[in-house]
């Protein structure tokens, strides 16, 4: 295993070191991974402590957990960075191995509770970048009154890591989306009234 076991207290000590910067910039802590909700108890402890100390919290998640788990911590999350990969359930199953129903169920609940959410969409050429999917995402965001979307263009940086780990990279044929395509998508989504950013 790479990494080490830490207590919530140890993590908070590390977080507190940058307090002056949070206060100046209005920034805070982003919990990410992997999937942070795979350690719900630990995450809950950290989020509560952050809120106690008035530190802004953001959670970067796929949303693939039970609503019970998610709802338990959502009160202490100021901002969700929420992934959407595909709106079509069958296609989602093909691409990720799981259904998207729980993911969207959770999203609707969070939006309904008025939580601040930024949608993040990894753009994989030929896999989820069809216009239908993009428009369905826009529709969904409209319905949930969400405004901010970040398009994350596929990159081949992981090939480097796979190489270093001595593993085979299975998407060796997949190319990064063209500048043209990305800007076209940005335009289309902006026309829908969304705040679209590339990257982040």
């Amino acid at each position: 295993m790479i990494g080490r076991m830490v207590t919530a207290g140890e993590v908070m000590e590390e977080i507190e070191k940058d307090r002056v910067f949070y206060e100046e910039s209005g920034g805070g802590v982003t919990f990410s991974g992997g999937e942070p909700l795979m350690q719900p108890g630990f995450l809950h402890a950290l989020l509560s402590k952050c809120k106690e100390r008035k530190i802004h919290t953001a959670l970067d998640t796929s949303g693939y957990v039970s609503w019970e788990t998610l709802s338990r911590i959502s009160a202490n999350v100021d901002l969700f960075l929420y992934d959407i990969k595909h709106t079509d359930d069958r296609r989602h199953m093909e691409l990720t191995g799981v259904s998207n129903r729980q993911i969207f169920h959770n999203l609707k609940n969070l939006a309904g509770a008025g939580k601040k959410i930024w949608i993040r969409v990894p753009v994989m050429p030929g896999l989820n970048d069809d216009q239908e999917n993009m428009l369905k995402i826009a529709d969904l965001m409209h319905a949930l009154n969400l405004k901010d979307i970040f398009l994350l263009p596929y990159h081949r940086i992981a090939t480097d890591k796979y190489g270093r780990l001595g593993r085979v990279y299975l998407l060796s044929d997949l190319q990064t989306p063209s500048d043209e395509y990305m800007h076209g998508t940005v335009e289309r989504l902006s026309a829908y009234g969304l705040n679209v950013k590339i990257g982040g």
């Binding site: 070191k17 940058d18 002056v20 910067f21 206060e23 100046e24 910039s25 920034g27 994350l152 263009p153 990159h155 940086i157 480097d160 190489g163 500048d179 990305m182 590339i198 990257g199 982040g200």
Partner: protein, 786 residues
């Protein structure tokens, strides 16, 4: 920039720095005529007069602000009365790859036949080395410290607003009043005061005459000029040069010309460190700007054009050539004029005004080496100002640098300045604080904090030469605790500081006696009132500085010894000394241990940062508050210019993993590669130093363009600055890395260990990426695509 400015800029950047013997000849003539016949202050004044009345007057095609130090752009004079170069020096200057100055055959001839015969053995440099003890010389040669005054004059000061309110005819009246007030019956200093004031009077006339000659030349050129517009410009120049500096300036343009004549006066009189500087330029120019904009006699474009012409004047004056150690500690053409923008007004309120923003625009457009510029950021200044400056910084030239105006004021107050004098001050040179127009804050040399440890580890001996230049503080193998080592270090440090200060006192006395600066003294309070020269303690405030170099390195070295030898007991002191003596040959494993498994400064790790503090306090304790012979007080600063490279070259292998001869850390930055937790951790570590007890600290941060891209990037820079300054950080400057640097990093990764680049939604060390990815990022940096 418009066509006129573009042409002048081109002329400035393409002119090749070269030596002019004009000044040397004129100075020699003056000495031949007057030396021994008049008092020394009057001798210096008559010398100044002789130069100002006879040097070639330059007015270039298209110029609006006129005057050069030498006979043309980048024509650099010599100062044989301070340092008479050997013929070999001239050859080296001509031939060297970096910071060269071309020396024509004619110049060589003059130097050989006229200058050397007169000045050999007579220059201040000769006097200084004659007076320095063998002990001092050993330390100097060993690279324990450097000596600022061995080739250049003390200087290092900045103008305030007096020259915008008074002309030299007014100063003459003030000087005459002082003369009249001399109590010949009871004042023991009566004669000295009289001579100094007489000298000042001569200098006033000299500078007025100098300007008049420009007026005469302008009229001559106007007569010949076919182009009616240019003819009119030349006639305007003539009028201006006959009005200032005799009289105070009446408008924006005259204000700039007034300052420029004074600047030339200071740098022609003597080869002062950090030339001279207009200081809080936006504050001084704003009243003129406001008035004329309202009257309609000036518009923004015209003001910008004048400022850009002004800018080029600085760029035409490279720092006069240095040789030897002085070259190594300051290996650059820049003469460190550092214009301040922003800050607070004398009443403490926000000083940012329209001229502040105009100056930022000028910096951005001009993109030339000189003058340097900085912003003074107070809590009272708006974020918008910081962000506008960040836009300019982002372009990658490294200017403007950023100062904490509130910390600067506190530093000055601690030193005993009045609140108003503190608020009207700022920073100059690299990072040094001063009460502009009222203070002599002279730098005396750099101090090698790391080599002191080397001496300590060898019980007083410099292993490089085998000479015993330190004191005996005990065999390190017999130290039973880290505290014993630290005690020994402190004792050695005190020993060397004392030698440096003793040398300084002598040099200060020599300058007070033999090399006054009566012209410069006119514009620095309170020299006229006291009848005393700047170099003799005449200013209202007198500070002397010793600049500490390598605090990052020494912190890591001590951390390594404490951690590995005393705490974890990974190796004995004996073994450590053996490893260092071998320069790590055959001990790469241990070197990697020192480099990678040791607490290091710059990571917000109290273990290592505590080491930094111990050295800082020791240095501070040894220096701060000691009196200087002409009534000044010693203080410390933490800046290196390029001296960290020189000091590294004379220091052997060290316990932080640094190999013999490699550069030390620069400023108060961590050792290159030691900071592994990002810029916020660097800032936290740097903030633990008590900046307010210094006269300046220097922190460098490197970023790739992506990190500071877009509106968010600017906001991030601004927030980082505000956070550091909230913690009382003194200064920060940003180097934004471009594609060429990344390519260099590919070829020489060991030089770029801490280079972090934005990869995708994250950042990573450039060295950790495979070549394909590095290429991709380079391409991205060039084309600014996502």
């Amino acid at each position: 920039m418009n066509e006129r400015v573009a042409k002048l800029r081109e002329q400035s950047v393409t002119a090749i720095p070269h030596i002019s013997m004009e000044r040397a000849q004129l100075v020699t003539e003056a000495y031949q005529r007057y030396a021994g016949k008049v008092s020394i202050p009057v001798l210096r004044a008559l010398t100044f007069k002789h130069v100002m009345e006879n040097k070639k007057i330059c007015i270039h095609e298209g110029e609006l602000i006129v005057g050069e130090r030498g006979p043309g752009p980048q024509a650099t004079p010599t100062y044989p009365e301070l340092c008479c170069h050997t013929m070999e020096d001239l050859q080296i200057m001509n031939d060297r790859e970096k910071i060269s100055f071309k020396v024509k055959e004619e110049a060589k001839k003059i130097h050989k036949e006229k200058i050397i015969p007169f000045w050999k053995g007579k220059s201040m440099r000769d006097l200084i080395f004659e007076q320095m003890t063998a002990q001092w010389k050993d330390c100097y040669e060993a690279g324990i410290f450097t000596e600022f005054m061995e080739q250049r004059a003390p200087g290092h000061t900045v103008a305030d607003d007096k020259i915008y309110k008074k002309g030299f005819l007014d100063f003459k009246r003030d000087i005459e009043k002082s003369l009249e007030a001399i109590d010949y019956a009871n004042d023991r200093e009566a004669y000295k005061k009289q001579e100094e004031l007489k000298a000042m009077l001569i200098c006033c006339d000299a500078i007025i005459r100098f300007a008049e000659r420009h007026g005469e030349k302008a009229l001559e050129l106007a007569k010949e000029e076919k182009n009616p517009e240019r003819k009119k410009e030349l006639e305007e120049i003539a009028q201006i040069c006959r009005y200032v500096p005799a009289n105070p300036p009446r408008n924006f343009r005259e204000a700039l010309q007034m300052y420029w004549f004074v600047h030339l006066g200071v740098i022609i009189e003597l080869n002062t460190w950090d030339s001279f500087c207009p200081g809080r330029l936006d504050q001084h120019l704003y009243p003129f700007y406001e008035k004329e904009m309202a009257e309609g006699t000036l518009n923004r474009e015209k003001a910008k054009e004048l400022l850009e012409c002004f800018w080029i004047k600085f760029n035409n004056q490279p720092a006069p050539p240095k040789v030897g150690i002085t070259l190594e500690e300051s290996g650059t053409y820049t003469d460190f004029c550092n214009i301040n923008i922003g800050g607070v007004k004398p009443d403490g309120s926000d000083g940012v005004n329209e001229v502040s923003y105009l100056l930022l625009e000028v910096i951005r457009e001009m993109r030339i080496l000189q003058p340097s510029t900085n912003i003074q950021v107070s809590k009272k200044n708006p974020d918008q100002f910081v962000i506008k400056a960040a836009e300019v910084i982002r372009e990658g030239m490294g200017f403007p640098s950023v100062f904490n105006a509130d910390a600067v004021i506190q530093e000055l107050l601690r030193q005993g300045k009045s609140l108003v004098d503190a608020r009207c001050g700022g920073t100059s040179g690299c990072v040094e604080v001063g009460a502009f127009g009222k203070e002599a804050y002279i730098l005396t040399g750099y101090f090698n904090l790391v080599k002191i440890l080397e001496i300590t580890l060898h019980n007083g001996i410099d292993p490089r030469t085998g000479k015993k230049i330190g004191i005996e503080t005990g065999e390190p193998t017999e130290f039973k605790s880290f505290d014993e080592l630290m005690d020994a270090y402190r004792k050695q440090l005190h020993h060397f500081v004392e030698i440096k200060i003793k040398g300084n006192q002598m040099i200060e006395s020599l300058y007070a006696e033999y090399m006054p600066a009566p012209f410069m003294s006119i514009v620095i309070d309170d020299c006229i009132t006291h009848g005393k020269d700047y170099n003799a303690g005449g200013a209202r405030y007198n500070s002397r500085y010793i600049q500490g170099v390598g605090i990052g390195s020494i912190a890591d070295c001590l951390s390594s010894i404490r951690y590995h030898v005393f705490d974890k007991k990974n190796l004995t002191m004996e073994k450590l000394l053996k490893i260092l003596k071998a320069d790590f040959k055959g001990y790469e494993k241990e070197r990697q241990l020192f480099l990678n498994k040791t607490p290091k400064y710059g990571n917000d790790d109290d273990y290592a940062d505590e080491m930094m503090l111990q050295v800082f306090h020791a240095f501070h304790h040894a220096v701060d508050g000691k009196p200087s012979v002409t009534g000044g007080t010693y203080r410390i600063e933490m800046l290196p210019t390029t001296c960290h490279v020189y000091f590294g070259s004379v220091t052997g292998a060290m316990p932080d993993g640094r190999k013999a001869g490699a550069p030390l850390s620069e400023g108060i930055s961590p050792v290159q590669g030691a900071d592994r937790h990002g810029p916020t951790a660097v800032i936290k570590s740097a903030s633990k130093m008590d900046h307010l007890r210094t006269g300046g600290t220097l922190l460098n941060q490197k970023f790739p363009p992506h990190v500071v891209d877009g509106e968010e990037g600017l906001a991030k820079m601004k927030d980082l600055i505000r956070a550091y300054f909230k913690l009382d950080g003194h200064h920060i400057q940003f180097n934004i890395i471009d594609g060429n640097t990344l390519r260099d990093a590919q070829k020489n990764p060991e030089k770029y260990k801490t280079l972090i680049v934005r990869v995708a939604g994250y950042s990573d060390y450039f060295n950790n990426l495979n070549k394909g990815l590095q290429d991709e990022i380079i391409a991205r940096t060039e084309h600014k695509s996502f």
